[in-house]
Amino acid sequence: MLDKFGIAKRIAKELQDGYYVNLGIGIPTLVANYVPHDIEVILQSENGLLGIGPFPFEEDVDADLINAGKQTVTTTKGSSFFDSAMSFGMIRSGRVDLTVLGAMEVADNGDIANWKIPGKMVKGMGGAMDLVASAKNIIVAMQHVNKAGESKLLSNCSLPITGLGCVKKVVTELGVFDITPDGFKCIEYATGVSLDYIKEKTLGRLIIADDVKEMSIE
């Protein structure tokens, strides 16, 4: 079973040389730490930055320079700043190659819910609805079950939807799942996790790939 760093490491393997990538708040942000050294990936932050660098040294912290999670960051060489309209312009026009998001629920048809629990909790959708409506390739990084132990991989989202049929892949602590016309397709399982356990924890339609294999994250 993976921890959140393991999930981030696995997603980092989806990155390709020259990709422009938007990483959401939470586990997705961690992906930046595991970009393979032999490729170049440019991170987009929807608050107006292309080219997010590592967290600053303490003396370099700059209140005017944050990522979409409101964390202080730095810039890489070749970075650029722009306003929020242009930022979502590049997202909507499909110039971002990969988007990694957290989620509360994902349905087996690719629907995603991640912004609201009616009557209990409202974070707001932030940029998520724009991202899921436009991104070419969306990977969800999340825990397989919620705090109550209930599956977050469902037949239908029970929470208010963020976007319809948009998720392409889900990576959880248990495995990697492609969204297919037949539902979640398990293509990899985490070390020490049985396929039966995955079946038990997945409420949506689940199929197992013929060539399913153990996940490698190093």
Partner: protein, 232 residues
């Protein structure tokens, strides 16, 4: 002569009255018009409709105006860092319209560009689409979204000149130039106010034509929500 420079925040917001609709720049606490928010709190103006990406935190930014119950309605995209906001929202004390961040940004731009409506895919099939017109283009469904109408836009820039030309710094740009274009009256506070000719005309983010009032702000706190550092 162009008479845009005002003395301070108090003078800049003096004709903002109860019930006004105000746009406020910033993303989180980054690039927010601190001086103007303080002036609005001191002035005690009420029943405001505020359009801003976030609503500050409990004791800073727009959060200060929520605490004093000056805000009737909040239009924002994300409120995850504000407990008081979430409480007022869930209890129904505060009217809230949550809209996708890109839609928020683009609707500001539409106003500034004199475009009454645009189409965006964000929110199709969600609560956001309720009551909105949808339309297909090339087989994909979009929502029609309207330009914002507001009485005032209040933004924070890094540098500005007395003609109202503005330059923003790093990610404190965010919604500021968009809202600067969108106010019926646009009020700008800057860290540095310079004379015309001191800013490179190629490097102006907001041309002065969009700016009605400008003043040099004081005592910027520039609070950071999450200080994250790399250890040496």
């Amino acid at each position: 002569m162009l008479k845009k420079v005002v003395k301070n925040a108090e003078e800049a917001v003096k004709d903002i009255t109860d019930g006004a609709t105000i746009m406020l720049g910033g993303f989180g606490l980054c690039g927010i018009p601190e001086n103007s928010i303080t002036a609005l709190v001191n002035k005690g103006v009420k029943n405001l409709t505020c359009i801003s990406n976030n609503a500050g935190v409990d004791d800073f930014g727009i959060g200060l105006m929520l605490k004093t119950r000056q805000v009737k309605k909040m239009i924002a995209s994300y409120v995850g860092e504000n407990a008081e906001f979430e409480r007022q929202l869930l209890s129904g004390e505060l009217e809230v319209e949550l809209i996708p961040q890109g839609t928020l940004a683009t609707r500001c731009m539409a106003t500034g560009y004199g475009i009454p409506a645009i189409y965006t895919p964000a929110g199709v099939g969600t609560e956001v689409a309720e009551g909105k017109e949808t339309r297909e283009f090339d087989g994909k469904t979009y929502l029609m979204e309207h330009a914002f109408k507001s009485d005032f836009a209040i933004v924070k820039a890094w540098k500005g000149d007395t003609h109202g030309n503005l330059i923003f710094r790093a990610t404190s740009r965010n919604f500021n130039p968009l809202m600067a274009m969108a106010g019926k009256i646009t009020i700008v506070e800057v860290e540095e106010l310079v004379q015309p000719g001191e800013l490179d005309p190629d490097m102006i983010h907001t041309p002065g034509i969009y700016v009605n009032r400008i003043f040099k702000g004081v005592n910027y706190e520039k609070r950071i929500e999450q200080i994250t550092v790399t250890k040496r």
